[in-house]
Each structure stands twice: as structure tokens, then as C-alpha cells.
Symmetry: C2
Subunit: 199 residues, 2 copies
């Protein structure tokens, strides 16, 4: 359950409404933990029920309302203890790799299409990660600034460095996938060649 802790971490930067939180989420944590807005609203209610956050109902126009959430001391304690805890990593479940294992069932061209899609996907991801890593390193994101503003100057370097390091890891990961797809395409060239001309 990373979602609840990701939400607690976002709120550590300061109080936010569900909608604000969802927006911030999409521009930060969502790179490492995706969630739908509907799930965020449900989880916030649950966190409130457990006393890890408190909500304040605010007016929005004359008729409607919104709810601003604030982290409680219990919420902060829960966040810290979660980050401290060493978790079992979940078992692998990667459908692209199971397909790659059974590419003999389709034509070489169809197999190529799989690797090209894989490459394109990770190239796009890599670009987004690089952009975000640069913004973090330059301390340009709104959320990071808010967080830095609320913590002692001596801690700033570590806060930034850990985040940048995580994104550098994601970039390395994406590059590994791109290389794998390229080697897959080369493999298919060799296989389709080998069957046709030489020997």
C-alpha cells in the first residue's frame, strides 16, 4: 500500500484539498506510483477515518464545498515508519516479457512491431523522467520548493539528492528497456536473414 503513504508524503509539504492533491500527485508521485483520482478520494476518506489526516470543509462558491486535508502527527509517524520499513519486493508481473517469450507464435514483422512499441514507450518515459529530474535538480518544482521552505537548510541537499537519484534510476531503467528492444530487433533480423540467404 504505497498510495496511502504517497498521499501522506504529499501532505507533509502542507495542507491541500483532494483535488489539489490529485493534481500534485499526477505531476510527482505518479511517475513511480500511478493512481486514479477516484482512488485518491477514497483513500483520503480512509486516512481521515484512521486519524492520519484531518479534513476541514471549506466553502466553494455559495452552495458547494471542498475539503482541505492536513497531516496529523500520527500521519507523519506512520509515514516515517513506512519509509524505514524494508518491504518484500512484489513478484514480477510483466506482460511484455511473457509475450517476448512466445514470439515464435507470430510472424517476424509482428514480432518487430512488439519491440518497436516497447522501445517507443520507454523512449517517451525516459524523456519525461529526464525533464523531471532536471527540474528537481534545479529545484524548480512547486512541491519541492514548498517542502524545502518547510525544512532546515542543512537538509536541503539530501532532500533534493534522494529525489534526483530515484529519477536517475528510472532513466537507467528505461534505457535498459530501450537497449533490450533494440537487441530484440537485431535478433529478428538475424533470424529472418539466416532462414533466407546464407548458410
Amino acid at each position: 500500500m504505497s498510495l496511502r503513504h504517497a498521499l501522506l508524503a504529499l501532505l507533509e509539504a502542507g495542507p491541500m484539498t483532494g483535488y489539489e492533491l490529485a493534481k500534485q500527485f499526477d505531476q510527482s508521485v505518479a511517475y513511480v506510483w500511478h493512481a486514479q483520482h477516484s482512488q485518491i478520494y477514497t483513500e483520503l476518506r480512509r486516512l481521515e477515518g484512521e486519524g492520519l489526516v484531518v479534513a476541514e470543509t471549506l466553502a466553494r462558491g455559495d452552495r458547494a464545498t471542498k475539503r482541505a486535508y492536513t497531516l496529523t502527527p500520527e500521519g507523519l509517524a506512520e509515514l516515517r515508519s513506512w519509509v524505514r520499513e524494508v518491504e518484500e519486493l512484489p513478484a514480477v508481473r510483466d506482460s511484455a516479457y511473457v509475450k517476448a517469450t512466445y514470439l515464435e507464435y507470430v510472424s517476424f514483422d509482428e514480432a518487430r512491431a512488439q519491440f518497436r512499441a516497447h522501445r517507443a514507450h520507454y523512449e517517451a518515459l525516459r524523456d519525461r523522467y529526464e525533464l523531471h529530474a532536471d527540474q528537481l535538480a534545479r529545484r524548480e518544482t512547486a512541491l519541492l520548493r514548498r517542502r524545502l521552505a518547510g525544512s532546515p537548510g542543512a537538509a536541503h541537499d539530501a532532500i533534493v539528492a534522494f529525489k534526483v537519484h530515484a529519477y536517475r534510476g528510472l532513466i537507467a531503467r528505461a534505457r535498459t528497456e530501450i537497449e533490450w528492444a533494440n537487441r530484440g530487433l537485431e535478433l529478428i533480423d538475424r533470424l529472418s536473414d539466416g532462414g533466407a540467404s546464407p548458410k
Copy 2:
């Protein structure tokens, strides 16, 4: 839904009982798509209901029975069309990376413990992948032999090559994670040093 297709792919090598299938699964597909045995039995019943496999009830001792599943032509067609289909890759959801982003909440030593655990996990995975890749390359696994025996000699190289390529990808992935963890440990050394001695 890769589980159903992974099961179809296993049955393409020949008929198997649920239990046999579960055992084969653990030694092959589980490296890329983990599933519990309970889930496999449920999924087999569903596949049977959809006509993608047929089951034959066999005696086991005097009183008990077991069910042997065979792939139907519809099942094979479904398998092929799934491998052909280019899927959207699911959004990232990696709790180790969200923790890495928030390591400023814990001590340097606790942060080190996270990276060490991460490294140990992927070292173990890498070793298992390497072993399996070697076995596949030498055509030593029972399942691969069964599959090769049932397909024309000209196709053998491709069948083996695709599987080996998938495992080489997993190995590369594991190595990337190990390097990331090592760089994380170096980062913590720099951060804890920087605060203590120089400047």
C-alpha cells in the same frame, strides 16, 4: 490478463493436469508473471467454460480424480492473437522507488538498509535468471524439449532465441537495479561525509 495466455502457452506443449501445470508454471512463466496455485485452478475452470481448453477427468487411486487439460484450436487461436496484439504497458507502480524519493525522513543508516535490501533482492533474481537462461540456451528444460519435439526443426532456433532473449533482458534489468542501489549507497556516503568532516 497474461495469466490465461500463459496457461494456454504452457498447454501448447501438450496436455497437463492442473497440478502439473502449476508446477511447470512455477519453473517457467512465474519468472515473468507470478501467480498463486489457487488462481491457476480458478483460471483453468474459466478457460474451460470459454472453450479455450477441454478437460478430461482421470482416476487418481480408487476414490479421487484429477483433470487433464488440453488446448483447443480456439485456445491456440486466442494465444496467437494475444501475442500479436500490441498492448498498452501498465503504469509504473514501484514502492521501492517511492520510498527512495522520501529517504530524507529516515536516518542515513536506515536509508542504507533500503539500498542494501534492494541490491540483495536483485542479485538473487539475477542469479536465478542467469541459471535459467543457460538452461534454456542448452535446451535442457523439460518444457522446452517438449515444445521443440512438437515443432519443425527449422523453427527451433527462433523458439530458443526468443526465450533466451527475454531472460537476458531480465538479467540486464536486475543489473540496472543493482547499479542503482550501489550508486544510492555512494550517495549516502557523500551526504553523511559532507555533513561531518570537510568544508
